[in-house]
Subunit: 142 residues, 2 copies
DNA sequence: ATTTTCATGTTTATCGGTGAATACAAACAC
DNA sequence: GTGTTTGTATTCACCGATAAACATGAAAAT
């Protein structure tokens, strides 16, 4: 279970140190993929397998299914921690997320997300206030 | 499992270097064929056999089945990596995909796809908007 | 037979990824 | 408070993958 918000830095080569508390849960090797809202998703192996299972069930004959599988897989890569607990964020994902140095790594329950500092802060300002979100949650039955 | 997006260049002779990470999974010899959405498909032997199996099961009486089998097989060829890890993309496929120099090689799970840079970038703009991606993910419960 | 063309091989240079070492900072124990 | 431990940041150096250029050789054309 991934929780918490951590401000880390991405180095000149595009590597970022994964918060210590996430490392065990991520395991030996895990996956990084293009996320939503200009973020990067990081999935543990188990979670990844479940997603792939769902993707396999999509009909290949459907244009939309092909498109999604394609985009999702193309934007993903397998990764593992180096000796210092870092991963390399692929360049295309760095560009997508607008990451160059100041970065946030946040735990979102089933996955980890990586955000450029500016994007994350902007998102928190722009998006619905926490109170408003709480109201919406009620609609979702939480 | 093929994943990731790699920007490579096709040389003047129509050769392109296959990403190192794909080479083992592709094996000694593999197949290149006309793909969908103006892309080129590359299949490992095993995957190729399965496709051929499916094609064989198509009723010979079906006009569309015959046509597809014909086009698919006619446009395909067996290939292998040269000493530098490159393959030669047959000219007809290069023309079909609009490839001349800047090229993307992407992993799509069960196969590799080769795209002309412009076509791939256009496809990503057109086909799968951000909202659609989000919706698809929601349907999948991600 | 000579030239031309095309496919294939080889070499070199560059750049990005990878690893290791060190420095810094925060948390904790005493 | 001081010293120790642990986690993160930074830097440097190396290695390997890719790109580009060049070389070789075979087949086709004249």
């Amino acid at each position: 279970m991934f929780i918490g918000e951590y401000k880390h830095t991405t180095d000149a080569k595009g590597r970022i140190s994964i918060p210590k508390v996430f490392r065990d849960d991520l395991g030996e090797s895990f996956y990084i993929a293009k996320g939503l809202d200009q973020s990067i998703f990081v999935f543990a192996q188990k979670e990844w397998d479940e997603i792939q299972e769902k993707l396999r069930s999509l009909p290949l004959t459907s244009k939309k299914g092909r498109a999604f599988t394609r985009t999702f897989n193309a934007g993903a890569s397998k990764c593992s921690l180096d000796a210092s607990g870092r991963i390399l964020i692929p360049q295309n994902l760095r560009e997508y997320a607008g990451i160059d140095k100041d970065t946030y790594v946040i735990g979102v329950g089933t996955r980890v997300e990586i955000w450029a500092k500016d994007v994350w802060e902007q998102y928190n300002e722009d998006e619905l206030s926490y109170d408003e979100l709480a109201d919406s949650m009620e609609e979702l039955g939480i």
